[in-house]
């Protein structure tokens, strides 16, 4: 439905994206200003640190999700991959594997899961929704089986401390966002791979006829998405100090919501790295503000739902009017 509106503008795409990002930043700033006035505890260094920590994981998931959505796909498994990865890294660390190696192995597991998705899509012809839904279901089962339904305690202090510390006054967890977002930005917006990703999402047949390997791009998109999810799993394990297969429940929907709020089109071929980042922090700010203002948690859900509608609606409006 919503037959995509043919953009008739001749203006370059870049400016448009840039403007859109500005609007979103404006919204985020507005939220922050309102909250600063409404509650004195919002604009404190401590709270801003909290906010940065709280938004960071969904932000990274949203970036990975964006790659997938740009190819006109979807990755429902990221929440499950996060939970599973906490189990993997916790298990490895408790088995005495050194931190760097444990991290590399966990990321490799994530990558493998992503490749499995791409395999299902490319070679088996499964819809992305289905293959990632199946993984979502199975992966939690496997994680629970490994831990026998309990949690693995991580006793490695160095590992868990990392998540609570800061560098240059900015929480380490947020630095992780920076570390992921900059290469992601270069990949998507400045390299030819990014260009191919858009081409695949826009018209896979055209991409194929241009010599772009569509399967390869699908592997890259899903591989990155799952690897980012594994990365978030590592961050979460560090933050919680436990490995637990049921963590990250429903995060896929939060990541998708952030992505869409950030201007990504679920029909593919439209999206950026900065949009989803801002989208994720808008959602985090709403939750943070609601907590500070002591808004009933049920109201929080209602507000989040309504805000998703409002933000995406205005995005659509602007796109159509151009």
């Amino acid at each position: 439905m919503t037959t995509e509106v043919t953009p008739t503008s001749v203006a370059p795409k870049r400016n448009f994206n840039f403007l859109f990002a500005l609007t979103l930043v404006g919204l985020l700033l507005l939220l922050c200003i309102v909250l600063s006035i409404a509650t004195p505890s919002f604009a404190t260094g401590n709270n801003i640190s909290n906010l940065l920590r709280q938004g960071s994981m969904i932000a990274i998931l949203a970036i990975g999700q964006t790659f997938v959505i740009i190819t006109a796909g979807i990755d429902l498994s990221v929440g499950a991959v996060v939970g599973f990865s906490t189990v993997v890294i916790a298990g490895l660390l408790q088995a005495g594997v050194p931190i760097p190696i444990a991290i590399v192995i966990t990321l490799a597991v994530g990558l493998a899961i992503g490749c499995f998705h791409a395999f299902g899509i490319v070679k088996m012809g499964l819809p992305p929704f289905i293959i990632t839904l199946a993984t979502l279901t199975s992966l939690r089962g496997i994680g629970l089986l490994i831990t026998n339904g309990s949690t693995i305690n991580i006793t490695n202090e160095a590992f868990t401390l990392f998540s609570r510390e800061s560098f240059l006054g900015i929480p380490n967890l947020f630095w992780m966002v920076v570390i992921v977002a900059i290469p992601a930005f270069i990949f998507l917006h400045l390299s030819k791979w990014g260009r191919y990703l858009y081409a695949v999402g826009s018209n896979p047949e055209a991409a194929r006829l241009s010599g772009v390997s569509v399967p390869k791009m699908i592997f890259i998109a899903y591989g990155l998405s799952s690897m980012f999810a594994a990365f978030v799993g590592i961050m979460l394990a560090a933050r919680l100090g436990v490995g637990n297969a049921t963590q990250g429940d429903g995060w896929e929907l939060q990541a998708i919501a952030s992505t869409v709020i950030g201007g990504t089109s679920l029909f593919g071929a439209i999206g950026s790295v900065h949009g989803p980042l801002i989208g994720a922090f808008i959602l985090a700010t709403i939750a943070n503000g609601a907590n500070l203002l002591n808004v009933n948690s049920f109201w929080q859900r209602i507000i989040t739902g309504v805000l998703i509608i409002v933000i995406v609606f205005f995005d659509q409006l602007r796109r159509r009017s151009r």
Binding site: T6, S191, S210, G211
Partner: protein, 514 residues
Amino acid sequence: MTELSSGAAAHGGSPGASSATDAQPILELRELEKRYGFIQALKPASLAFRRGEIHAIVGENGAGKSTLIKLLTGVIRRTGGKIVWNGREVELATPNEAIAHGINAVHQEVVLCRHLTVAANIFLGDETVKFGLLQTRDMNRAAQKILDDIGFNLPADALLGSLTIGQQQLVATARASLRGTRFIIFDEPTAYLTRSEAAQLFALIRRLKEEGVTIVYISHRMEEVFELADRVTVLRDGTLVGTRNIAETNDAELVAMMINRSLEQIYHKETIPFGKVLLETRNLSGKGFNDVSITVRAGEIVGLYGLIGAGRSEFALSVFGRNPRTSGEIAWHGKVVDMRNERTAIDLGIALAPESRRDQGLNLNLPIGLNINLPVYDQINSGIVVNAGEEKRRADQQIKDLGIKTPSRNSLASSMSGGNQQKIVIGKWLNHGAELFIFDEPTVGVDVGTKAEIYRLFAQLLKNGAGIILISSYLPEVYELADTLHVFRDGHLVGSQAYREKSHEDILAEAIGV
């Protein structure tokens, strides 16, 4: 068949001659064939293309022309036979392999990315990269230079999706000419082009030929074939019927080869007395057109001619209730009506066969029968369920009347060739019936034989008391058929004339605005 086979045999007899001489064909097909399941889209065919020639391929809808092209560009894989390129046997299994040999094509349907810019599309798969980073500005500049050189007036940094289909087709052409350094195939490139755009294209093709590029040119328009080609090959039902030097053949012979019978005349015109006024637009304005007043009477064909983007389709869509009007009024049988939506128009007795069959005309992944019956389901119910017998009967009737080439009404529309898809769009509205038929570019991609059928159908409709608005960018068509011909330019009506009142040149001048 005879002449061709002997030619192929002569080449086939000396496969060892691998040195690239001028006499040696650049590309040779030996018993090439393609099946889709049970359907044999191309029967074993042998054909040789000479270096630097312009080789036209003609044939009815579904004859296998596009299939042949797709085989040569690695879009689909052959199911039998050999392809010999420069004396050596090649696979041509992937688009990349074709590109590597310098073979490229402009396909019948635009295959580009609408979300990317013109420049990004032109360089897709072959980007300029420095230190791993895209050189977007360089590519924009280079693309603009290519476009300017060819003479296409298009902005390189515009999004492809913001261009008309014709302009997109030109981008595809620019793209192909960059890659097809040895061999370029054009599959009905002028179907969506204006006359001046077509002229630009012809100039480009001639230039390419001078540079030694071999051109294969597919078209349903005979005059283009005679204007451009050195040789012409005819396909019928997946079979190669023969190849002729253009100097040694004529219209009639080619048409006879294509449809296996002779065709005295394509344009079928009967004088039918005009009846009462059906539709009148009074100073109608809307998005894309301004202040248009026309009248359509029963028994009359009103032609709307103009360059692409002149506003005719937008006008038609407003008359049909698809797009809102901003001012003016529409009168139906003398009474002013509020054309609120498509349903209103259909119920009044107006039918619209839209210009883009893929985007507007067809439900591609549904059966032909459902497509044909879609507007009439209101009429063929028994109780709350659809009358299945009637549904079948009506679908089969249109398939038969229009000669739609399909094994069954249950086949999906997407498995039809371009021209056959167009027939489904027309059949849909013939099935529904109406007092006023609006045909927007009804013969795009339709072969001569079927064109003649369609024109004969027009006469039939007129005799039954209907009126027709015929929108076409193909001047001979409107010129020969329209009782009244209106010319659009930039959304305005700039001239009107009765049947054959003015010359081709005058009408063209009106449309271009010189």
